[in-house]
Structure formats: structure tokens, C-alpha cells
Symmetry: C2
């Protein structure tokens, strides 16, 4: 399957926003892509038909596995080209983004594999962002436990420290999952529990024990 530049840019933007907010909204996307909300709605419908994302009208959007795969491939291309521009063509690291925005849409997979080899399989681009491999795997960025998260610092859930079904069950019940955006509103010294706020939900309380086992990434 081949996608247009516009489609790829939407997928990439959604992926980026999804890093900090599980459910990406129309307005966020419009701002990110310098376009109008109505245009975003149009495109989301098309991308949904192409199975790249799940679109719930009025409630936002999340990437499907295929969508994620595509996003990571575009990011891979972008970052490899940035590396090339800086390392081989001596560009200044802050001048390469716009050029890579164009190069990332060149479609040949073999080109990218060969470029990767030519560059010596770099692990990160000039800005320090990790370069996904051809399977979409990427060294994860620094995540901390929810217990360590400062108050009023928005973050998103990246994983859990314990795979027990009791923990997962508890999280499901509280509507917390990978990608959920949250923020600590208050910390209780008495028992170490925290009051957290999720989008469109009342405050909920999590025990210290639970907070220790949720990993988040700050935004």
C-alpha cells in the first residue's frame, strides 16, 4: 500500500501527539498540521477507511497497528535522512528538519535499507531521537514511575512494572491504559497516595503501591 504525502503527514502527526495523549483530538491535529479542523475531519474519515486509525467522531482518534507501523517507518526515514544530512553533507543540525520532511516521503524501501547501511546503522538522529529499525523497534525514551512524577506535570502512561492480572484489572477499572494522559493534582503525605486527573474524568486516587508500578513519560 502506498500513501500520499498528506496522508503520511497526518499519520506522523497523530503518532507524535499520541505520545503525549492517548486520544488525539481534531483541534490538536489541526494546530499541529497548520490546517483547519474541518479539513482534519475529512482526512480522518479517509484514513479510517484505509484502516490506519480508529476514528470515533467527536471523541478523537488512535492509530491502528498498521498506522503505527507506517508512522514508525516515516520517522525512521526522517531520522536517517537527518543523520545523512548532518554527517555526510555537513549540514548544521538545526537546518535539516525541513529537508528531511521532504525526503521522508520518498517511497523506496530498498533506498532506506541501503542508506541505513551506508550510514553505519545509526541508533539516533542528530537531535538524539532514536531511529526505529526496519521492524519499527526503537530504544525507548526515559520513563519514570508515576510516584516520581511532579505535581501538575502532564505525562502519559508508557507501561507497567508488574504484569499481574490484578494490577491490570485495577487499571482497566480506573480507565488507565498505555497512552493514557494524566497529571498529578495532589499528593497525600499521609499514605503516599496521589490524586490524578484524566481527560474528562473526575479526580481519582491511586495508592502509593499502584503509583510505583505505573511508568510514565513526561511531556
Amino acid at each position: 500500500m502506498n500513501f500520499s504525502t498528506a496522508e503520511e503527514n497526518y499519520i506522523k502527526a497523530i503518532w507524535r501527539l499520541q505520545q503525549s495523549d492517548a486520544n488525539v483530538t481534531t483541534n490538536e491535529l489541526a494546530a499541529e498540521l497548520q490546517t483547519k479542523p474541518a479539513s482534519v475531519t475529512d482526512m480522518l474519515k479517509r484514513l479510517s477507511e484505509k484502516k490506519l486509525l480508529h476514528y470515533a467522531p467527536y471523541y478523537g482518534v488512535t492509530l491502528t497497528p498498521e498506522g503505527k507501523k507506517l508512522a514508525l517507518n516515516i520517522i525512521r526515514k526522517h531520522r536517517l535522512w537527518e543523520f545523512f544530512l548532518v554527517e555526510k553533507l555537513q549540514f548544521n543540525w538545526d537546518a535539516v528538519h525541513d529537508i528531511a520532511e521532504e525526503l521522508e516521503h520518498v517511497s523506496s524501501p530498498e533506498l532506506i535499507e541501503r542508506l541505513d547501511a551506508f550510514l553505519g546503522f545509526p541508533k539516533a538522529d542528530p537531535h538524539g531521537d532514536p531511529i526505529p529499525d526496519s521492524k519499527g523497534r526503537m530504544t525507548s525514551t526515559n520513563n519514570i514511575s508515576l510516584q516520581q512524577l511532579p505535581e501538575s506535570q502532564p505525562a502519559i502512561v508508557t507501561g507497567v512494572g508488574d504484569q499481574s492480572s490484578s494490577l491490570l484489572e485495577l487499571l482497566r477499572q480506573k480507565n488507565i491504559g498505555i497512552g493514557t494522559k494524566l497529571e498529578i493534582k495532589q499528593r497525600h503525605n499521609f499514605d503516599g497516595s496521589v490524586e490524578i486527573k484524566l481527560r474528562n474524568q473526575p479526580l481519582i486516587n491511586l495508592s502509593e503501591q499502584l503509583a510505583k508500578n505505573i511508568f510514565v513519560k513526561t511531556l
Copy 2:
């Protein structure tokens, strides 16, 4: 001024055809671009408004100086990328054309200057075609005098060996100019004169003296 990929492909195709035929026609372009004549007419009108070419309805099209400049810049990019793909990424020489077709539309001029330097300012692409420099200058391809041209071998006029006004006047009268496509239909041993055929014109006779002073490139 920035142009779309479609526009650039038209300009490039016109340039290519113009090499072998001063006046490029709608049908030729449609065949070259794998599209329909009606679509070509549409685009020619647009490109004409943008001053990239002179368009005479029903009579075909020629590039303006701006059009030629753009064409040579695209060709420069195409050939530099081909060189890169073969020399640096170890692609086989016959596998690079399609990828270069995409890369040539990336717009950054600085990218191309740096790529040129990185590659050591190559003079020709992997197929032996000369690479225009940033001013559009290119080492000319082998041209022979019309006298040396074999019978029935289509060729186009690339220049004249004598700049005298009497010669140019004679050529003008016979409707021959740079870019004119012609072919020798018959050679007269008696006086060395040749019968040549131009598009949509009856046979005309040129003296040996004249034929020696017209340079052509075979197709």
C-alpha cells in the same frame, strides 16, 4: 518560484522531447507522460501562464528560458542523485532511475550544492549522461555534421559551424533552426547534396557546402 511534481515532470518531458524535435506536440507529450492528450492541453495552458513555455494551440510548445533553466535544474538533480545511488549506496546502475525520479523533486537548492560537493562534482551520471552545473551548463553530447549523418537516421540540429549571416539567412528561409528535427532521405553522389525531410514539410535539397556546416545529434 516553486513548482509541483506534475509541473516539473511536464517541463522535464518537454525538454527531453525538444532535444529531438524543436516543436513538441500534445500527442508526443501524452505518450511520454503516460497520460491523455486532453490532460496535456490542460497543463500546457497552466505552464504557459506561468511563463515556462510558449504554447500555440494546435501547433505545439517550446520552453522559455525560464522553462529551460527549470528543466536543466531538475535534470541536474536527477543525475546527481543517480550518481549518489550508484557510487555511495551501491545500487546497480539500472535500478536507480525510478528512485531518482522521486528524489529530483526535493526542492532545497542547498541540498543539491552540498550533494554535488560530497560526490566530488561528478561530470556525468552512471549512464554517461552529462550533469549540468548549477548554472545549467552541460558538456555537450557528441554532434556530427549533417554531411556525416546516415540516411534515414533521425537527428536534430544542434548548431552551425559558421556564424555568417548568409548561412543563417539561408537556414531561416528553409525553416531550419536549432532544435529542428530532420532526416536524410537521399544522398546525391553527383554533387554531394542531400534531400532532407522536416516534419510536415516537403523534401528540400541542401548543398554539400551547407550540409557540412550544420551540426546535428542523432536520436
